[in-house]
C-alpha cells in the first residue's frame, strides 16, 4: 500500500515536476480566490464598524 | 470659405512641422538616442565583424523602436495641456484626420531622421550593401506603424509616466520587430524578403484607420 502510494508520488522520478506544476496551479488559483474575498471582507468590516 | 478635410489635414501638419522645426530638440534627440544605442552594442558585445553583421538587423530595429517610442510620448500632451486639443475636438472637422496628421508629422520629424541614421549605422555594423534597400523599406513601414501604436499608447497614458506608455506599446510592437528583422536578415542570406514587407504594408493599411479611430476614443477619455 505504502509502496503503491510512493510509486504514484514519484512517477518514475518525474514526480517532482508534476507535483510542482500542481502546486503552482493551486497556489495561483488560491491567490485568485483569496484576494477578492479579502477585499469584500475589508469593506464588510469597515462598514460594520461605521454602523456601530 | 468652408474648410474641407484636406485643408484641415494640411493645416495641422503645417502647424506641427513649423513648431517642430522651431524647437530643434524634437528631431535631434531621437536621432542622437538612436546613434548612442547603436554604438553601445559593439562596445558591450564584441567588435568582431561577422558577429556584428549577424546582429545588425536586430540592433538597428530595437534602437529604432525605442527611439520612436521615446519621442512619441509628447505627441498629444502639449496640445492637451495648453488647450488647443480641446478646440480641435469641438470643431466640426473629423478628429481622426487630426490624429493621422499628428502621427504623420511625428513620423516625419522622428522616423525620417532615424532612416538616415540607420544608413550610417549600417556602416558601423558592417551590414552588406545588398540589405540596405529592405532595411530602409522595412524601417519606413515599421516606424510608421510604431508611430501609430505609440500614439494610442500616448493617448491612453496622457499626463502619466512615459514608462507606462512604453509598457502598453512594446508588446504590440513584436510583429513589426519580427517582420522587420526577418526582412533584413533574409536579405543578408540572399533570400526573398518581399513577403515580409508586404505583410508590414498590410498591417499598416489596417492600422491607419483602425488605430486612428481608437486613438480618438482614447483622447476623448481624458476629458472625463
Amino acid at each position: 500500500m505504502i509502496e503503491q502510494i510512493s510509486t504514484i508520488i514519484s512517477m518514475d522520478g518525474n514526480g517532482l515536476y508534476v507535483w510542482s506544476c500542481l502546486f503552482i496551479l493551486f497556489f495561483i488559483i488560491g491567490i485568485n480566490i483569496y484576494l477578492p474575498n479579502r477585499k469584500l471582507n475589508r469593506i464588510y468590516k469597515e462598514n460594520k464598524a461605521k454602523a456601530q | 470659405m468652408k474648410s474641407n478635410i484636406y485643408n484641415w489635414f494640411f493645416l495641422i501638419l503645417r502647424r506641427d512641422l513649423l513648431m517642430a522645426f522651431r524647437r530643434s530638440s524634437t528631431y535631434i534627440t531621437p536621432l542622437i538616442f538612436f546613434l548612442i544605442v547603436i554604438s553601445f552594442f559593439p562596445i558591450a558585445l564584441s567588435p568582431d565583424q561577422d558577429f556584428l553583421r549577424s546582429l545588425a538587423p536586430g540592433v538597428i530595429w530595437i534602437a529604432a523602436l525605442l527611439s520612436s517610442l521615446l519621442a512619441i510620448e509628447t505627441i498629444f500632451s502639449e496640445d492637451f495641456r495648453d488647450g488647443t486639443l480641446d478646440e480641435f475636438f469641438i470643431s466640426n472637422d473629423p478628429s481622426f484626420v487630426l490624429v493621422f496628421a499628428k502621427v504623420l508629422c511625428h513620423w516625419l520629424v522622428t522616423g525620417f531622421p532615424i532612416l538616415l541614421a540607420s544608413l550610417i549605422s549600417s556602416l558601423i555594423l558592417y551590414l552588406p550593401v545588398s540589405s540596405l534597400l529592405p532595411m530602409i523599406c522595412s524601417l519606413i513601414l515599421g516606424t510608421f506603424f510604431m508611430s501609430l501604436l505609440g500614439a494610442i499608447g500616448a493617448a491612453l497614458s496622457l499626463g502619466k509616466s512615459a514608462i507606462l506608455s512604453a509598457i502598453i506599446v512594446l508588446p504590440f510592437s513584436i510583429p513589426t520587430l519580427l517582420m522587420g528583422t526577418a526582412a533584413v536578415s533574409s536579405a543578408i542570406d540572399y533570400q526573398d524578403y518581399s513577403g515580409f514587407l508586404l505583410i508590414m504594408g498590410a498591417m499598416l493599411a489596417i492600422g491607419v484607420p483602425g488605430l486612428c479611430l481608437l486613438t480618438v476614443e482614447a483622447i476623448l477619455l481624458n476629458y472625463e
Binding site: - | M1, K2, S3, N7, W8, L11, R15, L18, M19, R22, R23, R81, D82, G83, T84, D86, E87, F89, I90, S91, N92, D93, L220, Y223, E224
Partner: protein, 203 residues
C-alpha cells in the same frame, strides 16, 4: 426671439458624486449665463457636455438650427475656451490667431485689428516671450475674429488685473450687442449678467 440652446433635465454623476441634477436653462441671443460653483463642482464638465466633448450626461440639449427648428445637433458657431488658453508658445501672436481662424478664413487686417483691440502690439513675437496676462489677452482677441453664436468661456475672470477684466466686460457687452451669447463659469458672480446658475452640491 427663440433661444439658441435649450437645456432640460440635464444631470450628470461622476463616480459617487452627483455633479448636477435636473438642470434647466435657455441661452437667448444677446444674453449671458453664468455658471457659479466651487472647484470640483462640475463647471468644466458641464461646458464639455454642452459642447459634446464628452457624453456622460443624461438629459436633453436642443440647438436652434438655421431653419428655426430645434434638434440635437450643434449647428450654431460655438467658441470654446477651456481652463488653458489654447495659445501655442512656439507660435507668434499673429500665427496663433491665424490658426484659430483656419476654418472661416480671416483677413490679416482683421487679425491685426483684433490684436490691437486687446492691447497686443508686438504681433510677431512668440507667445513664449509673453506674460500670462498677455497670453490671456491674445486668447480674448480670438473672440473678435468672427461673430460666433455662443461663447463658452471657462473662468474668464481668473488671474486678471482690473484693467483686463474691464476689457473683458467691455468686449462681452460689445459682442452681446451683436447678438452673441456668453456662457461663462466662475467662482463668484461677476457683473456681466444677473442670470446665474449655481452648482453647489454639498460634498
Amino acid at each position: 426671439m427663440l433661444p439658441k440652446l435649450k437645456v432640460s433635465n440635464l444631470s450628470c454623476r461622476r463616480a459617487d458624486n452627483q455633479l448636477f441634477d435636473d438642470l434647466n436653462f435657455e441661452v437667448h441671443p444677446g444674453q449671458n449665463i453664468e455658471i457659479i460653483g466651487s472647484n470640483g463642482s462640475g463647471k468644466t464638465t458641464l461646458l464639455r457636455i454642452l459642447l459634446g466633448l464628452i457624453d456622460i450626461g443624461n438629459g436633453e440639449m436642443e440647438w436652434l438650427d438655421n431653419e428655426n427648428n430645434y434638434n440635437n445637433f450643434r449647428s450654431i458657431d460655438c467658441f470654446y475656451q477651456g481652463h488653458s488658453l489654447g495659445i501655442k508658445n512656439l507660435l507668434s501672436a499673429q500665427e496663433n490667431l491665424r490658426l484659430s481662424s483656419y476654418s472661416f478664413g480671416v483677413s490679416e487686417e482683421k487679425i491685426l485689428s483684433s490684436l490691437n483691440r486687446v492691447g497686443i502690439n508686438n504681433h510677431s513675437s512668440f507667445a513664449s516671450e509673453m506674460s500670462v496676462g498677455q497670453k490671456k489677452r491674445i486668447s480674448i482677441a480670438r473672440w473678435l475674429l468672427k461673430d460666433f453664436g455662443i461663447y463658452f468661456i471657462d473662468e474668464p475672470f481668473s488671474a486678471l488685473d482690473d484693467q483686463a477684466s474691464s476689457l473683458i466686460v467691455e468686449i462681452i457687452e460689445e459682442l452681446n450687442a451683436k447678438g452673441a451669447s456668453f456662457v461663462i463659469t466662475g467662482h463668484r458672480p461677476s457683473e456681466i449678467t444677473s442670470n446665474q446658475i449655481t452648482l453647489d452640491h454639498e460634498v
